[in-house]
């Protein structure tokens, strides 16, 4: 874990120096709970272009990248496939949401850009009061990417924004949250919200909660940055 902390520090310095930090903050949507300001949520998901910079920066630090991202799944768009083991991504996929990050990878990314992962409560505040982020009407293939309609992620912002002006809150990728939920054996599982491209319609409900093993970076999970007040 010391290695991870050092990597997080290195990424934070790099992100600050290259102005990656705060990029999504400018367009973030301010949120309140019971009239009290709590911070701002990025309008868009973190993309593969962002992930590529993140992983290639950390790769040269010598850290074992598997703690941060799945390097075993050949279907992930960002893969260590370069001649020197660097991460690459087809240009067609750069504007798709980042996938394959473990919870630790997602949390370190968010910290480095000046934010953090949202809590489930903050995420739900961003989604708004309806049954779904767009309101109460049931999902269909024109409102979100879910239920294998597209067979993979879609570029960020390809579907209509929700009532609070945030894109892809429901569908496309499930979003890691900061909350830890202990299971029966008292192991911390991490909350993911919003459902993804492979999720059934019920998972798109704002109230639906799924939990994941923190080291399991999958093709259906990504992240969005929350900037606390």
């Amino acid at each position: 874990m010391t290695e991870l902390q050092e990597a997080a520090r290195g990424w934070r310095n790099f992100a600050m120096a290259t102005e990656i930090a705060g990029q999504s903050r400018e367009k973030a949507v301010k949120l309140t709970i019971d009239g009290r300001p709590i911070g701002a949520m990025a309008r868009h998901l973190v993309t593969n272009a962002d992930l590529l910079r993140f992983l290639n920066h950390l790769r040269i630090s010598g850290l074992d990248i598997r703690w941060l991202a799945n390097t075993a799944n050949p279907n992930l768009p960002v893969r260590p496939a370069g001649p020197a083991g660097e991460f690459t991504c087809s240009p067609d996929w750069l504007d798709h949401p980042a996938t394959g990050l473990t919870w630790y990878g997602a949390a370190i990314y968010a910290d480095g850009v000046g934010g953090r992962l949202p809590t489930e409560t903050e995420w739900m505040a961003a989604a708004g009061p309806g049954e779904y982020p767009w309101g109460d009407s049931p999902p269909d293939a024109g409102l979100a990417n879910y239920g294998y309609h597209r067979g993979s992620t879609t570029p960020i912002g390809a579907f209509p924004a929700g009532v609070n002006g945030l894109f892809d809150l429901a569908g496309n990728v499930r979003e890691w949250c900061g909350d830890a939920i202990p299971d029966a054996a008292n192991r911390p599982l991490r909350v993911v919200k919003g459902g993804g491209w492979a999720s059934p319609p019920a998972d798109l409900r704002t109230s639906a909660r799924a939990v994941k093993l923190p080291l399991m970076g999958s093709a259906t999970s990504g992240l969005r940055i929350f900037y606390p007040e």
Binding site: W67, D183, A184, A202
Partner: protein, 293 residues
């Protein structure tokens, strides 16, 4: 009742092997085991959609690269000595520890996997006994499906794995002929599973063709095996939706393909390739009802 349209020549058939053995303890995790391109994503989605079941998607093959590198290498309770460094790797230890903890923390949890058939003894030593669901599909259709994605052929049926096949195999041919290689690996895997590995373990055999053409009976057997459960409306809807005229179909993604097309995939194999598969896999195909005796 789930209505399926009239299917040309496709009907549920009886296999020639004993298909169901039960295990009493619901806390025993389940493992949906299948060869590549056999419909396991679809069956896993059906299982996951049940409110009382949780199932992970390929927690070994898609998260630990070694499983692709040693796909049909047989492991006992401990991996071979040359894999000792892998097992001592702190990331692998942490990952397997988390996974084991999750599987055992609550009843009716499990996973689907495509690369564990030769490692069941190791899996049981790692986790516990598991209740196995073996999903099989006609190897002619499996071969068509593998050939359809040329960029993944070497991921699904790596040449390096030929070293684990019996010495009588024509390895030179297998290296250059993906149809022959696909058939060899399918036959080796299923022969070993059906005739050796699964004879003494609780298991349920599901043919993809039966699931599509006779869903009522297959779903009833499946959910009963998974813990004395009944199919819920979500699974019935998923199956009905599969045959719905209003469904949005695509030819490119397996979970959105027309079921009739999935069932008839083997017709896309040229005659000489079909004969190759039937020659290599014939004994197992006969056991599974894919070939007449």
């Amino acid at each position: 009742m789930i209505h399926t349209p009239r299917l040309n020549g496709v009907k549920p058939v009886k296999t020639r092997i004993s298909v169901t053995r039960t295990v009493g303890h619901l806390a025993v995790p389940f493992c949906l085991l299948s060869h590549h391109r056999s419909g396991s994503n679809f069956l896993n989605e059906l299982i996951r959609s049940h409110s009382l079941l949780s199932s992970l998607k390929e927690p070994f093959a898609q998260h630990l690269s070694l499983f692709a590198e040693c796909d049909i290498e047989r492991w006992e309770a401990q991996p071979p000595p040359e894999r000792a460094a892998w097992l001592a790797d702190p990331f692998v230890q942490a990952y397997l520890n988390d996974l084991r903890g999750w599987l055992l923390a609550a009843p009716r949890r499990g996973f689907k996997e495509t690369r564990l058939a030769e490692k069941l003894v190791w899996l049981e030593a790692l986790v516990s006994p598991v209740r196995l669901i073996l999903l099989v599909r006609d190897p002619r259709a499996v071969t068509v499906s593998i050939l359809r994605r040329p960029h993944l052929i070497d991921y699904w049926i790596p040449v390096s794995q030929l070293a684990h096949l019996p010495p009588s195999t024509f390895r030179d041919r297998a290296e250059h002929d993906p149809v022959y290689r696909s058939a060899l690996i399918w036959a080796h895997r299923h022969r070993q599973l059906l005739l050796e590995e699964l004879r003494t373990r609780p298991m349920l055999l599901v043919r993809l063709e039966d699931l599509l053409a006779g869903p009522d009976m297959t779903l009833t057997r499946l959910f009963s095996f998974l813990g004395d459960l009944q199919p819920e409306p979500a699974q019935i809807t998923l199956m009905k939706d599969l045959w719905s005229p209003a469904r949005h179909y695509t030819a490119s993604y397996s979970l959105r393909r027309r079921p009739q097309d999935v069932l008839h995939d083997c017709r896309g194999l040229p005659v000489h390739d079909r004969r190759t598969v039937e020659r290599v896999c014939g004994d197992v195909m006969t056991h599974l009802g894919y070939l007449e005796t």
